[in-house]
């Protein structure tokens, strides 16, 4: 019995080897990061398309854990145009949150490192490569050029400070316009009204525990909008809320989209929310993008079997089916992924070519791209 128990667990020798490897690799990265006085030329770059707010270019983010290297994001390339909303869809473990954390450089170091790739952030007159920027520069960017709305509104606010103080803190930290205190208070009340809080003066003085989940999420949104950021990352903002409150928040976000000129990166696993909010959709699976395109492409012409499966497995009100379609199998453990299509073991539409290496990206149209062997022939014929 004891032998059976230890089978499937790492042996001490293996785990030591893994630890040694991890330490070696992370030390290298940490050394580079901890340099002082990094010249701007190192992280100054050019946007490939000036109409994009953020460009992810072959991003690789790895976590060096005790059980092995987790390739959370393994070669992700997409753009977020200015003023548009990009929805990133995927299930837990696909790497969508890690992508946004890489953009904000909020990864848990030393285990989490961006090992390869670039993230180009458009700051108007110049562009920075966020992966190479040091912490001091990142501090000026966070909250200012890039802001984030988190998933859990109940814990996102500091319970010992008033709402007004917390929003003013963001303004005061990045005070580029040189606002006075009275002006900051005015702007805070303005923001609270913009997010649909009726009693803005009252809420300004309240503590977070006096507000409900929906109200707190509105406050978090107000904080995100405070410094007119270029990109807002919304990481599953409505998952923890009730359906009616979710409706309110989505309404609010849609209205704001027209007023402000920021791009929104909307991360979620709910296809319905994506359909409402997003202009472009990126579908991720096990750290890689399997399909991307406009909302119309994805919802009306889904190409990748995973996307098709996802849409089919969600029950829709009004459509009566006997057995719900479900994608067989489960999301794989991201450690030591093999070199063939990650979805192969679950896919019901495999073709011969699927036995080969990981498929490359194929363009089905100008906007619609997919990584699947089913479209290889079609692409070859076009060539």
């Amino acid at each position: 019995m004891a032998k059976k128990k230890s089978e499937g667990y790492l042996s001490a020798k293996e785990s030591r080897r893994i630890s040694r490897e991890n330490r070696r690799i992370t030390n290298e990265f940490e050394k580079k990061r901890k340099r002082k006085d990094v010249p701007e030329s190192e992280y100054l770059t050019q946007m490939h398309d000036p109409k994009n707010a953020v460009e992810f270019d072959n991003l690789h983010t790895y976590f060096f854990t005790d059980a092995g290297t987790v390739k959370a994001v393994d070669g992700v390339t997409y753009e977020v145009p200015i003023g548009k909303t990009v929805g990133v869809v995927g299930e837990s473990g696909c790497g969508k949150s890690v992508t946004s954390l890489s953009l904000m450089q909020l990864l848990q170091r030393p285990q989490g490192q961006v090992t390869e790739g670039e993230i180009r952030l458009n700051l108007g007159d110049k562009a920075y490569d966020v992966t190479k920027a040091p912490d001091t520069v990142m501090q000026t960017l966070r909250g200012n050029a890039v802001s984030m709305i988190f998933q859990e509104p109940m814990t996102a606010l500091n319970p010992v400070f008033r709402i007004g103080d917390q929003i003013e803190e963001v303004l005061a930290l990045h005070n580029e316009d040189g606002l006075s205190e009275a002006q900051m208070k005015e702007r805070t009340i303005e923001l609270l009204e913009m997010v649909g809080i009726a009693n803005s003066e009252g809420v300004y003085r309240m503590f977070p525990h006096e507000l409900s989940g929906g109200m707190r999420q509105r406050v978090v949104i107000a904080m995100a909008l405070a410094c007119n950021p270029r990109v807002i990352i919304a990481d599953e903002p409505t998952t923890a809320l009730d359906v009616t409150i979710q409706a309110q928040i989505l309404d609010l976000l849609r209205n704001l989209k027209d007023k402000i000129n920021s791009s929104i990166m909307f991360i979620t696993h709910d296809l319905g929310v994506i359909a409402e909010m997003a202009d472009y959709v990126v579908v991720m699976y096990a750290g890689r993008i399997v399909e991307k395109g406009t909302a119309d492409d994805i919802f009306h012409h889904p190409a990748h079997p995973y996307t098709i499966g996802l849409m089919a497995s969600k029950p829709v009100v009004g459509k009566k089916i006997d057995t719900l379609y479900s994608i067989p199998g489960k999301v794989p453990n991201p450690i030591n992924m093999p070199n063939y299509c990650y979805f192969k073991d679950r896919c019901e539409m495999c073709v011969e070519g699927c036995d080969g290496a990981y498929p490359c990206e194929i363009s089905l149209s100008e906007t619609h791209k997919v990584s699947c062997y089913r479209y290889y022939d079609a692409a070859k014929k076009e060539d």
């Binding site: 359906v243 409706a247 309404d251 319905g272 359909a275 497995s313 009100v317």
Partner: protein
């Protein structure tokens, strides 16, 4: 016979129902209040009216969906029916004709295998320091449901039905993904050969593709073992798929109840209508004529007078503010509590 009596009986004016054998569960004006203690000597200053009088019957082998938002009391209702939340405050719960709250502690323990529950959070409902085989098998051993010789095979069989493999028996819960943990919870409930299972938001914490698998699994098990489900959820699309009857709760009351097709094709109560319109549809071209409810859910400790929904209702009338509406059968098999249908 009954040595357990309700400690707090606020309103005992229900007419006891007679047992109808086709219903495995009959709930009659069930109430569950939680006292709020305040002041220096912890006097009871008020009550949180978590469940404020719900009535429904559940036919054997069917699934009833119970929907509502957070704070409406559906989870408390599920646990109160199973006698997992202390004493009831009022009403009746008849399981197979017998009042659940009249059992002695010993009788209750032997009744437990028949009425099981699957919890919402698969991680916190599994004991962190026990291997999975133990978690699934300990109650079976406790109640001696299976002779010792067949025990291992029985557990393997149960795990197989739930999509787990035998080598999982020695692993610990934290090594599994969310979907698999939920399968372990289902296996734990199934191992006791229950008749009635309360599924308390079993798929809310899971990914979409796994949700479908778990729902199919539950359906499959229901057909195989003739189980009866009380499916509690806030996800209307899932509830529509799996349930035969649906009840909608708001702030401790049932506002509407009926067959699934009836409720979803013709919702009567304003809250139900608003709820249905709030579901996001995965089609970017769909027209959104959403009824957006103003305000937020009131506190169950201090519910509004009259109809509890009147503060947020678009169709609010004068009498809604003072008089609570009656629970009436508006169409055959379709119940509702709303003043709009007072003259039906």
């Amino acid at each position: 016979m009954s040595e357990t009596k309700s400690k707090l009986v606020i309103d005992n004016d229900f007419t006891p129902v007679t047992y109808d054998p086709q219903y495995i569960l009959m709930v009659n004006k069930l109430k569950k209040y939680f006292p709020i203690k305040g002041g220096m000597i912890s006097k009871t200053v008020g009550y949180v009216k978590a469940v404020d009088g719900i009535t429904f019957n559940l036919k054997r082998g069917t699934t009833m969906g119970l929907v509502g938002e957070s704070g409406c009391g559906k989870t408390t209702a599920g646990r109160t029916i199973l006698r997992l939340a202390g004493e009831k405050t009022g009403g009746q719960v008849l399981f197979n004709g017998k009042e659940v709250y009249d059992f002695t502690a010993k009788e209750m323990r032997s009744m437990r295998p028949k009425m099981q529950i699957i919890f919402q959070d698969p991680f916190s409902s599994l004991s962190p320091r026990l291997p999975v085989g133990e978690i699934i098998g300990e109650a079976v051993r406790e109640h001696n449901l299976v002779p010792k010789a067949e025990f291992d095979d029985y557990i393997d069989n149960v795990m197989d039905q739930c999509g787990l493999q035998p080598f999982h028996k020695d692993r610990y819960p934290h090594e599994f993904s969310g979907g698999q943990r939920q399968r372990i919870c289902i296996a734990r409930a199934l191992a006791l050969s229950p008749e009635f299972v309360v599924c308390d938001e079993p798929v809310s914490a899971l990914d979409v593709s796994i949700q479908a698998q778990i729902i199919n699994l539950l359906r499959d098990l229901q057909q195989r073992h003739n189980l009866t489900y009380l499916f509690i959820s806030h996800d209307l699309s899932v509830v529509e798929h799996i349930s035969d009857t649906v009840g909608v709760m708001y702030l401790g009351n049932l506002v509407e109840y009926g067959q699934t097709e009836d409720i979803f094709s013709e919702p009567l109560h304003p809250y139900t209508k608003a709820l249905f319109s709030a579901i996001p549809i995965p089609d970017p071209d769909a027209k959104m004529n959403r009824i957006v409810l103003e305000g937020s859910i009131p506190s169950p400790a201090n519910p509004p007078s009259g109809c509890k929904f009147h503060t947020r209702c678009a169709n609010c009338m004068e009498q809604c503010k003072t008089v609570a509406p009656e629970w009436k059968e508006i169409r055959p098999g379709h119940f509702c509590a709303c003043h709009l249908y007072d003259d039906c």
